[in-house]
Amino acid sequence: MSTPKTLYQKIWDSHVVHEEPGLPAGAGQPALIYIDRHLIHEGTSPQAFSGLRAEGRKVRRPDLTFAVMDHSVPTKDRTLPIIDTDARLQFEALEKNCRESGVRLFDMHSKHQGIVHIIGPELGITQPGQTIVCGDSHTSTHGAFGTLAFGIGTSEVEHVLATQCLVQSASKTLHIEVKGKRPAGVTAKDIILAIIGKIGISGGTGHVAEYGGEAIRSLSMDGRMTVCNMTIEGGARAGMVAPDETTFAYLEGRPFVPRGKAFQEAVDRWKQLHTDNGAKFDMTVELDAKDIAPQVTWGTNPGMVTGVTARVPDPGSFRDLNDQKATERALIYMGLKAGTPIVDIPIDRVFIGSCTNSRIDDLRAAAQFVVGKHVARSIKQALVVPGSRGIKAQAEKEGLDKIFIAAGFEWRDAGCSMCIGMNADVLPPHERSASTSNRNFEGRQGKDSRTHLVSPLMAAAAAIAGHFVDVRDFDVAPVE
């Protein structure tokens, strides 16, 4: 019998195009690996195309490359001209680059437009067993389908455009097992924040993570994508969940997925994509879902996180001197006092969106909480930004837009929006958000802005109360 392999090793092995003879990849020596799908957006691709042009090189596989406008797109009326000149020039550059190279582009007027990591799965471009890259660290999202997906820099974007391959060293493997059932009010977002809180933001560095356990298996694809999306915030470049019936059911009938007999053949192939019994991981982490409370970040990186019933920590409670200094800095930046109960933190704005939490399950969870209620008077703005126009259409079909608007939320068009604030959706200086996005770094949502990362359910509840509340105190239906 052959040596048992992890899911990661299976995908890696099936994508090696070239290895230097005598130098096994395990020794840190790189191999040339094939890239099945390459996703690009306006922000990190223009320099890659200019690089190609300067060397007289061509896009090798435009048919395997997909482009979308997401980072800087306005989420209000798109029939108006783009007033941000720099953003407009980037959109024009992407359009020209795609036209000249034959790459399919979902521009901001396409009905399939959306955040790159939302539309890949939604259109069925993302499929199990593939290698997928994009010039964006949240490419890890696609790992929810049992793909090896990770973010790359612009030079690597250029490399993939030219060769459809990447020079990569094999990563170590990390198994993250989340046992048991999720309590009501605890979502995929809380699971991944709790994991990052446990391993730290560099805990997974050098590794590819594979998630398992009942609490992961029982998640919908939307929930699994949330978990894999934030894998990078724990330092691992890629996170994956082995495909199963949930995965196959999600994919069937999507435009880029094979149909009929070809679909059955694909499913048979995809069923091989799991870690073999006896395969060894380099590191293992275990959590029990019953110990996970709804999570809220209090600091300036996603590892600075705690349960909603806890208090803002005291810098002195950390053993490591660097952690103490970082916590002190974070509390000053966040305008928080050590010892403050999390539920006493007042909120200025609420953002429900981003590649982490803007899928239909997220919007349903938030909508079912706010139905018949209204955002607190102290809230200056509450935004709902669907991850794609497809999700927007679906939500409108279900009447979710009306629920949000009646509750005092703004209902917007699809894009990255206030997660990164590259368009007009910016969190003003010293204002505090409850945000369903992925990063609470200094200045992330706007200069001197203060971000608290939470689940869509927690964000919705904070919008209604004007401060954080424990959603478990309310009668909430189980959500992803």
Binding site: P46, G135, S155, I201, E233, P255, G421, R439
Partner: protein
């Protein structure tokens, strides 16, 4: 790419853990179309007060560290966003070497595409270098890639590890793409052998597709 062999330069201490790439080049500068000019942007929100006045509290603006080309910092440097604008800024500012106990994966990779050497030393060694930099104005280090050593004028000598292939990329200033294209036959053979995954399935009726689930 500019090759890297040996570099001697003044050290600047950036005493923070987990410096993320959002801090190196904030989002408002990601709308560029070229790789140039990011040195002025590097650590923008820490470095400048309103009106782009230098913030005297930030180490990059201390007179004693002007002209530094070796960036000394703490663990998990370069975490977060994959933006290569961060190493473009590091390089354009004038840094050739970064010294830290650890780096985030994507940033680390990106350094090698830009002729920057991100050398890894132990926490204790980094702490010692912080102290020496603090003590001696104009403290400088020589970082030698062929011998994988960091040395100062007072007899300090540290060795660092680096994967041989990465070392070669820097030493020769290799064009990765050119190297990979030499394997064109193997790439084509792979595509033929793996037609099921390396072929794009034509989308079914995408014009009329509305996400229904």
């Amino acid at each position: 790419m500019q090759p890297f062999s040996t570099h001697t330069g003044k050290v600047i201490p950036l005493d923070r853990v987990n410096v993320d790439t959002d801090q190196m080049v904030p989002k408002q500068f990601l709308k560029a179309l070229t790789r140039e000019g990011f040195g002025r942007i590097l650590f923008y929100d820490w470095r400048y007060l309103p009106g782009e006045k230098p913030n005297p509290q930030f180490v990059l603006n201390f007179p004693r560290y002007q002209g530094a080309s070796v960036l000394l910092t703490r663990a998990n440097f370069g975490c977060g966003s994959s933006r290569e604008h961060a190493p473009w800024g590091v390089k354009d500012y004038g840094f050739r070497v970064i010294l830290a106990p650890s780096y985030a994966d994507i940033f680390y990779n990106n350094c090698f595409k830009n002729g920057i050497l991100p050398a890894e030393l132990s926490e204790e060694q980094i702490e010692e270098l912080f102290q020496r930099t603090e003590k001696e104005e104009g403290y400088s280090l020589t970082v030698d890639l062929p011998s994988q050593t960091v040395t100062d004028n007072h007899g300090l000598k540290y060795n660092f590890d680096i994967v041989p292939s990465r070392k070669e990329v820097l030493l020769k200033g290799l064009d990765d793409i050119g190297t990979s294209l030499q394997h064109e036959k193997e790439i084509s053979a792979y595509e033929k052998a793996n037609a099921a995954t390396a072929t794009m399935f034509d989308p079914v009726d995408i014009k009329n597709y509305a996400n229904g689930r």
